[in-house]
């Protein structure tokens, strides 16, 4: 009986890690996407102080959740996202709006791609 309980605990832990991990990853990516969209929206308003503040907020969010993403994903998958996030603040401070928008969209695309690849579907499973 002890063995069965151990086995059930193992399976439940695995299921919990898989399900919780997926939803946590998804919500983290969505938060980051929202924050990046905010940077893009603010940068088009020509108010540099607001753009820098939004970029700083975005960088802070990345610092909080980047490590979590590294736990769930292969590190090579998030290398480019990490590099992009680090350059956002620099572009905002240098008032390089075109580059800033470009890097934000690239980052959004990468994060959306991560959500797509982690979502269970026939394509991702098979």
């Amino acid at each position: 009986m002890k063995r069965v309980i151990t086995a059930v605990c193992f399976i439940l832990t695995a299921v919990f890690l898989a399900v919780f991990g997926y939803f946590d990853l998804k919500s983290t990516c969505e938060d980051l996407i929202y924050s990046l969209q905010n940077v893009v929206a603010v940068s088009s308003s020509d108010n540099n102080e607001e753009t820098v503040a939004a970029a700083e907020e975005c960088a802070r969010l990345w610092e909080e959740s980047g490590e979590k993403l590294e736990m769930y994903l292969n590190h090579s998958e998030i290398d480019s996202v990490e590099i992009d996030f680090k350059s956002i603040r620099r572009y905002a401070e240098g008032e390089q709006d075109i580059m800033l928008t470009e890097v934000c969209f690239e980052c959004i695309n990468n994060l959306e791609h991560i959500i797509e690849t982690e979502t269970p579907s026939w394509g991702t499973v098979l």
């Binding site: 063995r3 069965v4 151990t6 086995a7 059930v8 605990c9 193992f10 399976i11 832990t13 695995a14 890690l17 898989a18 991990g21 590294e70 736990m71 769930y72 994903l73 292969n74 590190h75 090579s76």
Partner: protein, 240 residues
């Protein structure tokens, strides 16, 4: 871009530390998993157990070498495989039909000295395989075999014809002293107290034996004692 050798050193150090920590985590996972899975040897594994063992070794070795892989992607399949393996083994214990479905059945390949060629074909066993397995059981002549059975783990069990069975003490109508298990009392100069009860040994009794043999405990390589009082004492090699 300026190459900073200090940063590079730091990164290499970090990388090695990551490998070190990951190896420890995975080693602990393997130890726990193998302890839970049980004590069977590779040759005794049932097909399902063999599959799980191979899968586990493959799953665990890759993230140990590649630090870019997320550990959670390894831990989840390991937990699932071990969980399923235990549950399947419990179902196999309870249900004969399930056991037979999953592990197969033992098959008789030699009956009364005659080969069952149909069963050999079914098992995809060549006569060479069979003869080799028989030789490993010290049987060189098929005609001496009453039954040979291929077990579910692939091993061969052999029952010889009565006239070829070795003579046993009972057949000769003589009485023999009962065998007793020799317990280790001293190993490599250290007293092993855990088996004292098994062989009826006590500390004063051991001291007496040691004194009688004029030797110190630390100079004893191995000392065993069985219930019949038979002592085996091997001294340590002085030169080494």
């Amino acid at each position: 871009m300026i190459f900073n050798s200090e940063t590079a050193k730091h990164n290499i150090g970090d990388f090695m530390l990551i490998s070190f920590l990951r190896a420890i985590i995975l080693y602990v996972v393997v130890l726990v998993v193998m302890r839970i899975l049980g004590k069977r040897q590779i040759g005794e594994l049932q097909p399902a157990e063999l599959v799980v063992t191979i899968l586990l070794s493959e799953i665990l070795v890759i993230p140990m070498q590649d630090t870019s892989l997320a550990l959670i992607d390894t831990i989840i399949p390991v937990l699932l495989l071990v969980g399923f393996e235990i549950i399947i083994s419990v179902i196999c214990l309870k249900s004969v039909r399930f056991r037979s479905l999953l592990q197969g059945n033992s098959l008789i390949v030699i009956r009364n000295g005659i080969l069952d060629q149909g069963q050999l074909k079914r098992l995809r066993f060549t006569t060479d395989d069979l003869l080799e397995a028989l030789r490993k059981k010290d049987v060189f002549d098929i005609s001496t075999v009453q039954y040979a059975i291929v077990e579910t783990d692939g091993t061969l069990s052999v029952m010889l014809k009565a006239e070829y069975e070795p003579v046993k003490i009972k057949d000769m109508n003589i009485t023999a002293e009962e065998n007793a298990f020799p317990s280790v009392v001293i190993s490599d100069g250290k007293i092993i107290q855990s088996d004292f009860k098994e062989c009826g040994m006590s500390y004063p009794k051991l001291q007496k034996i040691i004194k009688k043999n004029k030797i110190e405990v630390k100079k004893v390589m191995l000392m065993t004692l069985d219930k019949n009082g038979k002592i085996t004492l091997i001294k340590k090699d002085e030169d080494k």
